[in-house]
């Protein structure tokens, strides 16, 4: 095997582990060696769980030595966005207000990962409370894009995306409220999927906007995505919105023939309110549509006009839900409490002032205003009505198409600091992903090209409700006939014998 272990996929490593050509312990050691090499520059991680990882790996090795039949991903190294509650392991959600918070229980998906023998390497960086598109809103400083360290990795699951893209983890989990898995996957050149709302339990996932939040995997290849969905999907009674419908074996969808598949290229993904996506992004997406056609799909252009209102709808609904969800951070039950306060109101306000960053405060303000007396109908109800119209547009499109496609992000990775002073321009980077959350549909980002600067471009695949299998089928067929996914980010290079971080701008 010529490639280093950390550069392999989950399914390749799974084969090596199963054949006992590799031990889980050796793999953990290789991963931390890789992390030591690159994480000082990337800052993908907030916390490492090395002792626990070594112990988990040893258990997997022991069980395998005893001849136990282990799940496919037993021994595979995993990174978790710091939004998932992990029993006994600090969970901060990228916020100062949760510094030192040690959950007394595991999130449902963490239980599932543990039961399947995945080995937790650490917790990854994110925008505070998942509010952001760049990780620049993290209270612990931004992560960097492994393809160019002067660029953002996207967000909010930017740490998870950077970790997988730079081979600091084999698989990672993120959450996606308005694009927070797909956009960083696109900007980092990996596969990221947000399944149908309710397909994966949100129990133990720190809430941002509950009617939109969804868990999903960030991985290197489509097969790894199917394997992870097999681990993550299923009913959980502790999440009232969890869907109680049977879970297929997603690896059965990995076929390469797209004959008869009806694909719609969404005009409003290619241009929002008349403004087109970057030419290179648009070109790569059109080339990908041609490829799908070559593989047997029937492609046409479709229009979903109400998608032109996605951004204002989202930025009313999400902050409204957030202002309610974040009321719990008041210095009473957990997290930060201000040192001095004369009365309880002052304790609340000072605690929250000290604990929250600017974007979180901005969204709490926006949501509180949208829900306040006299404005509720004009903002919140109106946004909910337009949300219905957006959902109806999707329903109409899916009467003609099995799958909708377009870009994931209107641009490739942007520069650190480029959008931090202009909230609306940052909000627009999720213009293609937000409508999918509003409608509760499954969506995926898969690599489909590179800009002339060498930055990755993602293809967006959107399915019907519970249409994960159709997405996987198209994604796998596309991936197997292209080699974008084989390109590897090399964040650190030796130049003239000296270690040098990659920056294409310099």
């Amino acid at each position: 095997m010529s490639a280093p272990l950390h550069d392999l996929t989950a399914h390749e490593l799974s084969d090596l582990l199963r054949r006992k050509e590799l031990s889980a312990r050796a793999l953990v050691a290789a991963m931390y060696a890789r992390i030591a090499e690159v994480d000082c520059d990337l800052h993908s991680y907030l916390l490492f769980t090395r002792d626990e990882a070594e112990q988990q790996a040893a258990e997997v090795d022991e069980r395998r030595a005893r001849g136990s039949d282990l799940p496919p991903l037993a021994g595979i190294p995993l990174a978790l966005k710091d939004i998932f509650c992990t029993q006994g392991i600090e969970t901060t959600c990228g916020s100062k207000i949760l510094a030192g918070f040690v959950p007394p229980y595991d999130a449902h998906v963490v239980e599932r990962c543990r039961a399947n023998g995945l080995v937790l390497l650490g917790k990854t960086n994110m925008d505070e409370f998942a509010m952001g598109s760049s990780t620049e809103n993290s209270s612990r400083g931004p992560s960097r894009n492994p393809w160019d360290l002067e660029k953002v990795p996207g967000g909010s699951s930017g740490g998870s995306a950077a970790a997988v893209a730079a081979s600091e983890a084999i698989v990672a989990l993120g959450t996606d409220t308005g694009g927070s898995i797909r956009q960083p996957a696109s900007l980092c050149g990996i596969v990221g999927m947000k399944p149908t709302y309710g397909r994966i339990s949100r129990y133990g996932v720190i809430a941002y906007a509950s009617s939109l939040d969804q868990v999903g995997p960030l991985v290197k290849e489509v097969r790894d995505c199917a394997l992870m969905l097999n681990v993550l999907c299923g009913h959980d009674a502790r999440d009232a919105t969890s869907l109680d419908s049977p879970t297929p074996d997603y690896t059965q969808s990995l076929t390469t023939d797209l004959k008869g598949l009806r694909v719609g290229l969404v005009r409003e993904f290619m241009e929002y309110q008349g403004v087109g996506v970057d030419a290179e992004v648009g070109g790569a997406v059109r080339a990908a549509v041609d490829k799908l056609q070559e593989l047997g799909a029937e492609c046409e252009e479709v229009s979903l006009p109400n998608l032109n209102y996605s951004i204002p709808v989202y930025y009313i609904i999400a902050p409204a839900e957030a202002s309610s969800n974040l009321a719990r951070y008041d210095g009473v039950q957990y997290g930060h409490r201000t040192a001095t306060a004369d009365d309880i109101i002052e304790m609340y306000t000072k605690t929250r002032d000290e604990g929250f960053g600017a974007e979180v405060k901005r969204r709490i303000m926006l949501g509180t205003y949208a829900l306040s007396a006299g404005y509720y109908d004009a903002y919140y109800i109106k946004a909910g009505q337009v949300r219905t119209l957006i959902r109806r547009d999707f329903d109409r499109a899916f009467a003609r198409c099995d799958l909708l496609v377009g870009p994931v992000s209107p641009t490739v990775a942007f520069g650190l600091g480029e959008k931090t002073d202009d909230p609306v321009s940052m909000y627009l980077s999720d213009v293609c992903t937000i409508p999918v959350n509003l409608a509760g549909l499954p969506g995926m980002s898969i690599p489909c090209g590179f800009s002339s600067d060498g930055l990755p471009i993602g293809l967006h695949l959107v399915g019907k409700t519970l249409g994960e299998e159709t997405i996987l089928r198209a994604a796998y067929a596309y991936e197997q006939s292209t080699d974008w996914h084989r390109r590897q980010a090399h964040p650190i290079q030796e130049v003239d014998g000296r270690r040098r971080a990659v920056s294409r701008a310099l």
């Binding site: 030192g100 918070f101 040690v102 007394p104 709302y197 309710g198 009617s211 939109l212 009674a237 009232a240 869907l243 109400n306 209102y309 951004i311 204002p312 009313i316 009321a327 008041d330 210095g331 009473v332 039950q333 957990y334 997290g335 930060h336 409490r337 004369d342 009365d343 309880i344 109101i345 304790m347 609340y348 306000t349 929250r352 002032d353 929250f356 405060k361 901005r362 709490i364 303000m365 926006l366 949501g367 509180t368 205003y369 306040s372 004009a378 903002y379 109800i381 109106k382 909910g384 009505q385 337009v386 949300r387 219905t388 119209l389 959902r391 909230p423 609306v424 959350n437 409608a439 509760g440």
Partner: protein
């Protein structure tokens, strides 16, 4: 201008946020520009369109009313900034 600095201060209090002079000025400008951006929704005819509150139409998920295991008081209090006699402790509320 939809929101005055005084209204911003009031919304901050509703959201239990304390703003500095500087934050109040900045949020007034930023929130106004965001609200102005939201205005475009008013052009859309939504007569007789029901608001969508959730992606999945589920109502009332019930379970049997049976006791289940929950966190112990020690676990529930392990992250408390201040506690006394198995309770969360806060500044005096009643005079």
């Amino acid at each position: 201008m939809r929101l005055t600095p005084e209204e911003v201060e009031h919304v901050a209090l509703l959201g239990r946020l304390k703003l500095t002079e500087d934050e109040r000025a900045r949020f007034t400008t930023q929130l106004n520009s965001i609200l102005e951006y939201f205005e475009q929704l008013q052009q859309i005819d939504t007569t007789d369109v029901p608001p969508m509150s959730h992606a999945v139409e589920i109502t009332n998920v019930f379970r049997e009313d049976e006791p289940q295991a929950s966190l112990s008081p020690e676990e529930a209090l392990q992250n408390a900034p201040d506690q006394a006699r198995d309770c969360f402790q806060v500044p005096r509320v009643i005079e």
